[in-house]
C-alpha cells in the first residue's frame, strides 16, 4: 500500500502531470494514425522513416541549437530528403525503391548518430533514440496536442476517400478519388505524427506505437472505421497504463509503452473471438 502515497506525490509534480498528458495525447494520435499504417501495409516504411528523421534533427541541432521547432523542421527536411531521394534513386538507376530507401535511411541514420555524438550531448542523443516522454516541456505538449488535432481532423474528414484509396488505388482513381493529393496529405500527417512519437518513445521504438494499436484492433473488428478510433483508444489506454506500471518499477516509460501495446496485441492474437488462435470459424 506504500506505493499509492508516493505515486500521488509523484503525480503532484508538474513534470509527471505533463508526462501523463503526453502519454494520453501521443498514444491516442499515434494509435489513430496506426489504422492508416496497418491498412496501407506500410509498417516497414514507417520504420525506415523514423530512422531517417535522426540526421535531420541532428543537423538542426547543429545549426540552430535544440528547440522543439528546429527539431521539427529538421525532421520534416530529413523525411522529405529520404522519401523523395529514394524515389529519385529508383527512377535514375536500376534499383527498386525499397533498396534505395534501405541504403539512404541507414546512411542518414549513421550520419545523424555521428553528428549527435560529436555534439557532446550524450543525454539528448539517448532521448532521440529511446524517447523522453517524462522530460517534455509545455511547448512540447502543445506541439503534441496540435499534431494530434491535425491528424484526427484530417484523417476523419478524408476518411471516405481514404478508405477507397486504401482498399484499391485503381478503383479509387477510376472513381475520381484524388489519389495524388491523398498521397501527399497522408505522408505529411505520417511525418508529423512520427515526430511526436519520436519525442515520446524515440526513433527505434516509434514503429511500435504507429503499428501495434490498430494491428490489435484489426484482429477484433470487421469495420475499417472502428480501426481509427479503436486504435486511438488502445494507444492512449496502453500508454497511460504503461506510465503507471513503469513508475513503481522504475522502468523506462517508452519501453514499457511498447511492451504493453505488444502485450495487448498478443492477447488479441490469441483470444480474439473471430480472428484469434482459438476461434472456431477462423478465416485466414
Amino acid at each position: 500500500m506504500t506505493t499509492f502515497p508516493t505515486l500521488n506525490d509523484f503525480l503532484a509534480e508538474p513534470i509527471a502531470k505533463r508526462a501523463l498528458l503526453a502519454c494520453l495525447m501521443i498514444g491516442f494520435s499515434n494509435g489513430f494514425v496506426s489504422a492508416f499504417v496497418v491498412l496501407r501495409k506500410s509498417a516497414l516504411k514507417i520504420g525506415t522513416l523514423s530512422h531517417a528523421l535522426l540526421p535531420g534533427i541532428a543537423l538542426a541541432v547543429l545549426m540552430v541549437g535544440l528547440t522543439a521547432w528546429s527539431a521539427l523542421a529538421g525532421a520534416v527536411f530529413a523525411a522529405l530528403m529520404v522519401g523523395l531521394g529514394s524515389i529519385f534513386l529508383s527512377r535514375t538507376s536500376r534499383l527498386d525503391q525499397d533498396t534505395s530507401m534501405g541504403i539512404l535511411y541507414t546512411t542518414a541514420f549513421a550520419g545523424g548518430y555521428l553528428i549527435l555524438t560529436q555534439l557532446n550531448i550524450r543525454q539528448k542523443l539517448d532521448e532521440w533514440l529511446f524517447g523522453s516522454i517524462v522530460g517534455m516541456a509545455d511547448s512540447d505538449l502543445w506541439i503534441a496536442f496540435s499534431i494530434s488535432l491535425i491528424a484526427v481532423i484530417t484523417l476523419t474528414a478524408l476518411q471516405r476517400s481514404l478508405l477507397i484509396y486504401l482498399f484499391e488505388p485503381n478503383i479509387a482513381a477510376s472513381l475520381g478519388v484524388p489519389v495524388r493529393f491523398l498521397n501527399y496529405a497522408t505522408f505529411a500527417i505520417t511525418i508529423l505524427v512520427l515526430i511526436s512519437s519520436l519525442q515520446a518513445v524515440g526513433c527505434i521504438l516509434s514503429v511500435g506505437l504507429l503499428v501495434a494499436p490498430a494491428a490489435t484492433v484489426y484482429l477484433l473488428t470487421d469495420n475499417a472505421r472502428t480501426l481509427f478510433w479503436g486504435g486511438g483508444l488502445i494507444g492512449a489506454f496502453g500508454s497511460v497504463l504503461a506510465f503507471f506500471i513503469s513508475y513503481p518499477l522504475g522502468w523506462s516509460v517508452s519501453a514499457t509503452i511498447i511492451l504493453v501495446l505488444g502485450g495487448f496485441f498478443l492477447i488479441a492474437y490469441i483470444f480474439s473471438p473471430r480472428y484469434g488462435l482459438f476461434s472456431k470459424g477462423r478465416q485466414a
Binding site: L39, A157, L158, R160, S161, L163, I164, L166, F167, E168, N170, I171, A173, S174, L175, G176, V177, Y218, T221, D222, N223, A224, L227, Q283, A284
Partner: protein, 254 residues
Amino acid sequence: MPHSTPKEHVCWGGGGCHADHHRLEVRDLKVSYREVLALDGIDFATECGRSIALIGPNGAGKSTLLKTLAGLMKADSGSIIWRGQPLTRSSHEIAYLPQRGDVDWNFPITVRGLVEMGRYPNLGWWRTYSKHDAEIVQRALTAMDLLDLQDRQINALSGGQQQRTFIARALAQEAHVLLLDEPFTGLDKPAQENLSRLFRELTAEGRLLIASHHDLQTVTGFFDDVLLIKRTQVVFGDVATCFTPENVGKAYGQ
C-alpha cells in the same frame, strides 16, 4: 438475331432514357508503359448493349488497354471518344473492375460497404450519404442477388460472389461502361455460367461490357464481340465472323 442492339436504350439507375445510343470510339490509340510501347494502333468503335471479349496472349496489353479506357493511364496519342466527347479524365459512367487477385480481400469491409464505394463520384469526400444513395445501393445489391450477403465480410465470399460484389459496385456508380479485368478467372463452371447470364442481363439493359478473357473455349458462349490484340489490333468484330482460328493464330502465333 441473337445479339441485336436494343432499340431503346434504358440506362438503369440513372433513371434516364436515351434514344441515342451511347457510343464508344477508340481512335488509333498508342500507349507506353515505362517508355516501352505497350499498345499501338488500337482502333474500334462500339456502343452500349454489347459485350466485348478482349483477347490476346500474355503481355499483349489487355490490362493496359482497360486501364487506359478507365482513365488510369495516359495515352501517348490517339483518342477515346465517349458519347461524342473525348474522354480525358475518370467518369462515373465508366467503371473499372480489377482482377480479383489484385485486391486485398482481408480489407475490413462488408459487401454493402464495398458497394457503397460506388456512390463516391456523387458524394465526394464531404456530402452526406442520402436516402437516394441508399436506394441505389439497395437496387445494385438486389440486381446482383447479394441482399442476403450484404453484411458479410468480403473475405468470406466465394469467387463468384466477389465478382458480383464488384459489379454491384459498378452499378451503384451508375456506370454505363464496365471494364473488367479477367472476370471469369478462378471461377468454377457454375459460377462462370452464372456470371455469363448476368453479363447478358447487363447488356440487355443497355450497358457496354469490355472484359479481358483468356479462355478461348468460352468466348463464343460468353460474348457478343471480340477484340483480338497483340500490342497492335489483330481484329475487332462480332464473335461469329471474327473469332476464327486464323485470327486467333495471328494473335497467338509467332
